[in-house]
């Protein structure tokens, strides 16, 4: 338990983020003090770990005004296919849509791999009904058949139900009627219609999204119920809030209805915290780099707003098409394994030692050399801290492994071999970050790199150097960024309606009405939430394309009042800046209209994230030790500072190592770090 104080006065707000390994908690108390804790995640029942984290706080649960929880309950349920038994009713002739997918394979090369549908075929039934693509009824819904199908699924012990009809985005009448009938027969509220989460065309993606939603609803509900009653028993009087994948929070009573939105909420929280932190530091365009044990997450923030996508996949052939913070996972983490291939070249990844058995240096039985082991050998990680956990492994054992697996085959010294692992790993990660940026049409050199996660600050400066990125920002608490995201998040609701018609056949009134309806729905939802907001902000955008194209471009709109001429102009501008191609000859088409309604919460002061009373007046007093650290093919005697002790306005040039409870920061030689009022370090990266 760590605690520090600031000078802010309001209610007590607590963020608890449940990650794969750790449950992190952050409390902003009414005096402006901030305290935090890191406890192990309890896999089978995450609520237990949350309660455990809360018990670490000095603030009694009964004194907390707001608790916001980020959970991986639904993520794990989907990835491990530990789902509620779910039935599906579709248009006759189309029950196999969610099993057939879009004709793909897991990798471009290799004829291996399998796909398990979210709902098995035996639980997918068909009824007579049909709309055409304009929403005209071709075959009326056969209600007798429908009732029969519902009863059959109940007999097969289904807990949740999906109703997924073709073209329901164009006319939801049949889905709505079917849901009405189902509600009379189904014993619970776990009924999801295809159009309700996202009124967007594409039957596979919409169907999978609805299926995931239904299949995780009971699981999320159970978790929330358990946690709520535990909290209530301990005196928490208000409603729990839960993080969504769009980076916003939602009341516990509303979250299960759209449970699919929580599936990718963990990474989203971190990105929200990054946007919030960087904006306070005056930096508005950032690439976030969250490096963990098995993989790293990368996201883009433009003008302080995280990019959102509604076309993300959780894994192969598992699209969840609801608006989510656009976080891309790249395959390298601290546990990525280094090896020599048949061509005698050094490779890092894609194999990973993960958390178990993990890197050799964790002493959990890992025998393969990983990125973390290389960091240790090179003095970048503190051996005393690492080995203090359990003395099963010694530095010599790690060095021996590097020698045997890497150094000897390459004819290098152990130190040079470990250095080579980092060179290859950083090169690879930089390449992946670059592709993420370019695929969204942006040059990474126009951004600052925001590093967090346990391992992000170890590699960020080296990666920025590879990419030509000028600045790296390391927040005060890189290891608990997701929990911070829970605390700073706003209330948020997103809406998408498919139009999909040539621009010149649409009138401005229709555009205006659609956006206004979305806004009204959003406002009503924000007002129904259990959390106070200062103001409501609305963002509008259109997904557009040239007629004949299939890829979409998102175009921000200034208001709900836009003429089609303005739309055409905005689209052409956006197209030119993204693709560097001008196509004045070709007509545009309006595919989707989108509205985001955000209830902004009162701003929070982050300056107490590092306790001011711990700060020393000079940098020298923050020095813990000096140890040799390997940079640029040689050892350098490198100062090691305690992060919490450095003066807030410290300015110093690398090489340097900063250690703190939740991470280690490496400042590469010739790069200069400067502290700021919120405890961030902003590093100017030296480029050759």
């Amino acid at each position: 338990m760590n605690k520090s104080s600031g000078n802010r006065s309001s209610g007590v707000i607590t963020g608890v983020d449940v990650g794969g390994t750790f449950t992190d908690m952050l409390v902003f108390d009414s005096q402006g003090s901030i305290s935090f804790a890191k406890t192990p995640t309890t896999i089978d029942n995450q609520a237990f770990g949350v309660m455990n984290a809360l018990s670490q706080s000095d603030v009694a649960i009964s004194d907390i005004d707001t608790i916001v929880n980020g959970t991986t309950t639904t993520t794990n349920a989907v990835l491990e296919r530990k789902l509620a038994r779910t039935g599906m009713i579709t248009t006759r002739g189309f029950r196999d849509i969610i099993e057939l997918g879009r004709r793909t394979r897991p990798q471009p090369y290799g004829m291996f791999g399998q796909f398990t549908p979210i709902i098995p075929r035996a639980l997918r039934l068909e009824v007579s009904e049909r709309m055409d693509s304009s929403g005209n009824v071709l075959t009326v819904l056969d209600e007798a058949e429908l009732k029969q199908a519902i009863k059959q699924l109940l007999d097969q012990n289904c807990e949740s139900l999906v109703i997924h009809f073709l073209h329901a985005y164009a006319n939801p009448a049949h889905e709505q009627r079917a849901a009405e009938i189902a509600a009379q027969l189904w014993p619970n509220a776990y009924i999801t219609t295809g159009h309700s989460l996202l009124s967007e065309y594409r039957e596979y993606e919409r169907g999978v999204t609805a299926s995931v939603n239904a299949a995780v609803q009971p699981i999320l509900d159970n978790y929330i119920d358990r946690l709520q009653s535990e909290l209530a028993a301990n005196g928490y009087a208000n409603e729990l809030l839960v993080m969504n994948g769009n980076g916003g929070m939602v009341s516990a009573s509303m979250v299960a209805k759209e449970a699919a939105k929580t599936v990718m909420s963990g990474p989203a929280s971190g990105v929200m915290a990054a946007a919030y932190t960087a904006k306070r530091a005056g930096i508005r365009d950032i690439i976030t780099y969250d490096m963990g044990g098995t993989s790293s997450d990368v996201a883009l923030i433009l003008d302080a707003i995280p990019s959102v996508s509604h076309e993300l996949e959780v894994e192969y052939a598992m699209p969840i098409h609801v608006p989510m913070v656009d976080v891309r996972t790249i395959g390298s983490g601290g546990g990525s394994i280094a090896s020599i291939d048949d061509a005698g070249l050094l490779r890092v990844g894609p194999e990973s030692a993960g958390a178990t058995p993990g890197p050799i240096c964790y002493g959990r039985g890992g025998t393969s050399v990983t990125i973390s082991d290389a960091n240790l050998v090179l003095g970048r990680l503190n051996p005393d801290t690492l080995f203090s956990v359990d003395n099963k492994i010694s530095m010599q054992q790690v060095r021996d492994a590097v020698d045997q697996h890497i150094a000897q085959p390459l004819g290098l010294s152990i130190d040079a071999a470990a250095g080579a692992i980092l060179t290859i790993a950083n090169n690879k990660m930089a390449g992946a970050v670059r592709m993420v940026s370019l695929s969204r049409g942006h040059d990474p050199r126009d951004f600052a790199l925001f590093a967090f996660g346990g391992a992000g600050p170890l590699h960020a400066v080296a990666i920025a150097r590879e990419l030509g990125i000028p600045n790296v920002l390391i927040p005060a608490r890189p290891g608990i960024t997701n929990a911070l995201g829970c605390v700073v998040a706003d209330v948020r609701h997103d809406f998408v309606n498919t139009i999909n018609r040539p621009l010149d056949t649409i009138d401005a009134l229709q555009i205006n009405q659609t956006l206004e309806q979305q806004t009204a729905r959003g406002r009503a939802l924000v007002e129904a939430e259990a959390v106070a907001v200062e103001q409501i902000e609305c963002r509008y955008s259109a997904d557009m394309q040239f007629i004949g194209q299939t890829h979409l471009l998102n175009v921000p709109l200034p208001s709900t009042n836009v003429t089609t001429d303005t739309l055409q102009q905005l689209f052409e501008q956006a197209y030119l800046s993204r693709f560097h191609v001008e196509l004045k000859e070709i007509r545009a088409s309006l595919v989707n209209l989108n509205t985001t309604v955000i209830g902004n919460r009162a701003p929070l002061d982050l300056s107490a994230l590092i306790d001011k009373s711990q700060r020393k007046p000079t940098l020298n007093e923050a020095l813990i030790t000096t140890r040799p650290v390997w940079f640029n093919n040689q050892w350098h005697d490198t100062p090691v500072y305690r992060r919490d002790h450095i003066p807030a306005d410290a300015r110093f040039t690398g090489p340097a190592v900063l250690e703190q409870m939740d991470t280690t920061i490496i400042i590469e030689p010739d790069c200069t770090a400067t502290g700021d009022a919120d405890g961030n370090l902003i590093i100017e990266v030296a480029h050759d």
Binding site: R103, K428, F546, L583
Partner: protein
């Protein structure tokens, strides 16, 4: 740098991934900016870097269409030879050649290749080249896939290598000749700009690499990486016992003469090399199922890459694969043999024959036969309601073969492609059709210890007006082969219901010009994958689960597996 780059595995690894990155960025740039869905969404394109001396592959984008894995090195080599022989104009900085001639190292006419010399100090250091599938290139039928063309002239406009860009400027005269010979020409400018811009992205990124490492070091590194890739491929080949391996695949017909064509591949493994010939394959055919040499060779490379996906793609990886020119067969097409079916259909079947040959040697790396056809159904007509003509394509997947430890994938993409099929909801929006069914094709996966994946079954009805249907598919006569005791997958089937009467194409999987009117329906069943291993060894739980999910009838399962179910 003083250090010998060939002895520096770290810098080599970094250069290797940097070259790969250049190609990946070219791929990305091409797809992002391309106009045609076939490039932008289906990724029917590829970008690479080729040797200045002989066009050999140096690096290629990871997400390029698999069938292009080796083709551009042939077209670049031909280009270099033609320049050396002064048959075409000598290159200057900023020039981009365009070529789609299949006989000059290509595939079919729709695959249009661009090639740009990359200069360093006034000398050509390497070539940058890319291929994009244009949605139309003229010829008898929209889209180019004529099922019964008998000469290449019927298939579309054929371009020898000519400079489309001269010193960076588009040559409008040549461009107007192209536009006058293709359909929907007004949209092509979007693809031409994207295709050339991708090469410029490659040039810019190569400039950075050259300035970082210097041209001589880079050149040496490229040679060393080639050597090491060859080493790596030989290492992999060493897991195959020396000896002779043979595989065959049967193509239904050439679309003109209703007779099956045989692909026979004979592989001799010796000294960690594969000596591959196609002796015993059918002679050149009258219809468009001939394959040009570049496509035949590329199909072998693509099959090997599916078997050993982790060997990096460059000319070194192909070095241990010695392919004898299959002269005298339909896999060595010469002018004016029609070739439109080679890239989409014959190439897959060649890969299938390679799989069939090698599965006994590498049972843990090779699956039973996959569906093996792109399942191309085209419907062209005029929509009376919109007063517009349309051409619609339904390309379909099928089942993959079972493997040594799991059942085959259902509705997988063709081995030579990586593109997604369009949603039914999109097709119905764009075209006057109604899907009556789009379903898993029950019973189609071949039985085995690990069964084949399932094909699909669809039924499409024309809602308005009149249209003509054509089909370029395959595996109609025999299904994808089962291996090591596994049974074959179900063959492809095509049925057209006209005025309530059933019409089955004479060639089963290939036909064109079938007139249909509103209310008529086209029904297609795509092949299931072959089974792997003796069905007797399949676990009863898996058999029961196949029954519960309605994948097979009780009778089918009892017959295939010799069990009694309740």
């Amino acid at each position: 740098m003083t250090k010998d780059i060939t002895q520096d595995p770290i810098t080599l690894a970094v250069i290797q991934s940097s070259l790969q990155q250049v190609c990946d960025e070219m791929d990305l740039s091409f797809s992002r900016a391309a106009f045609s869905p076939i490039i932008a969404e289906a990724n029917d394109r590829s970008d690479g870097i080729y040797s200045a001396d002989n066009g050999e592959l140096i690096a290629q984008g990871a997400l390029g269409l698999p069938v292009f894995v080796g083709t551009m090195q042939f077209s670049t080599r031909v280009l270099i030879e033609m320049i050396n022989d002064e048959k075409i104009a000598a290159p200057e900085p900023g020039d981009i050649y365009i070529v789609n001639d299949p006989y000059l190292g290509g595939t079919h006419l729709m695959d249009v290749r661009f090639a740009m010399p990359y200069y360093h100090n006034d000398e050509i250091f390497c070539w940058l080249s890319n291929t994009g599938h244009w949605p139309d290139i003229g010829g008898a039928v929209p889209g180019g896939f004529s099922a019964n063309a008998t000469a290449v002239e019927q298939e579309g406009l054929r371009l020898p290598p000519v400079k489309l860009f001269k010193r960076g400027e588009l040559d409008n005269e040549i461009y107007s000749i192209i536009c006058s010979n293709i359909r929907v020409a007004d949209q092509r400018i979007g693809d031409v700009k994207a295709q050339s811009a991708a090469l410029l992205v490659g040039r810019e990124r190569l400039d950075q690499l050259v300035s970082k490492y210097s041209a001589p070091v880079l050149k040496e590194a490229i040679a060393e990486l080639r050597r090491r890739a060859a080493l790596q491929m030989r290492q992999r080949l060493s897991s195959i016992d020396d000896g002779q391996y043979t595989g065959t695949a049967i193509v239904d017909s050439d679309g003109v003469v209703d007779e099956p064509l045989t692909i026979q591949v004979n592989i001799n493994k010796k000294d960690n090399n594969l000596h591959i010939d196609f002796d015993g394959s059918s002679p050149p055919c009258a219809g468009p199922m001939n394959s040009v040499l570049a496509t035949t060779q590329s199909s072998v490379y693509l099959a090997m890459r599916h078997i050993f996906p982790d060997v990096p793609i460059n000319a070194g990886a192909f070095e241990p694969l010695h392919i004898k020119d299959p002269k005298g067969t339909f896999l060595y097409a010469e002018y004016p043999r029609p070739v439109s079916g080679c890239a989409a259909e014959v190439s897959q079947r060649i890969a299938e024959a390679v799989f069939a040959a090698l599965v006994p040697a590498l049972p843990e790396r090779v699956s039973a036969a996959p569906a093996g056809t792109s399942g191309n159904f085209a419907l062209g007509g005029t929509d009376p309601q919109r007063g517009q003509s349309f051409v619609m394509y339904q390309l379909s997947g099928g089942g993959y073969g079972g493997t040594h430890d799991h059942d085959g994938l259902t509705n997988g993409c063709s081995t030579i492609g990586i593109s997604k099929s369009p949603p039914v909801e999109v097709m119905e929006q764009y075209f006057p059709v109604l899907y009556r069914e789009y379903a898993l094709r029950e019973g189609s996966g071949g039985a085995g210890e690990f069964r084949g994946g399932f094909g699909i079954r669809y039924s499409i009805e024309l809602r308005r007006g009149e249209a003509t249907a054509s089909f370029v598919m395959d595996h109609g006569r025999v299904g994808p082969q089962g291996v090591l005791g596994g049974k074959d997958g179900m063959p492809n089937s095509v049925t057209v219901w006209r005025n309530g009467e059933q019409y089955i194409p004479l060639h089963l999987s290939k036909d064109q010009g079938i007139a249909i009117t509103a209310g008529d329906r086209v029904e297609v069943g795509t092949p299931g994958g072959g089974g792997f291993g003796n069905p007797k060894n399949r676990s009863i739980e898996k058999i029961q689960s196949d029954l519960d999910n309605g994948y097979y009838t009780v009778q089918q399962l009892e017959e295939s597996y010799g069990v009694k179910l309740n």
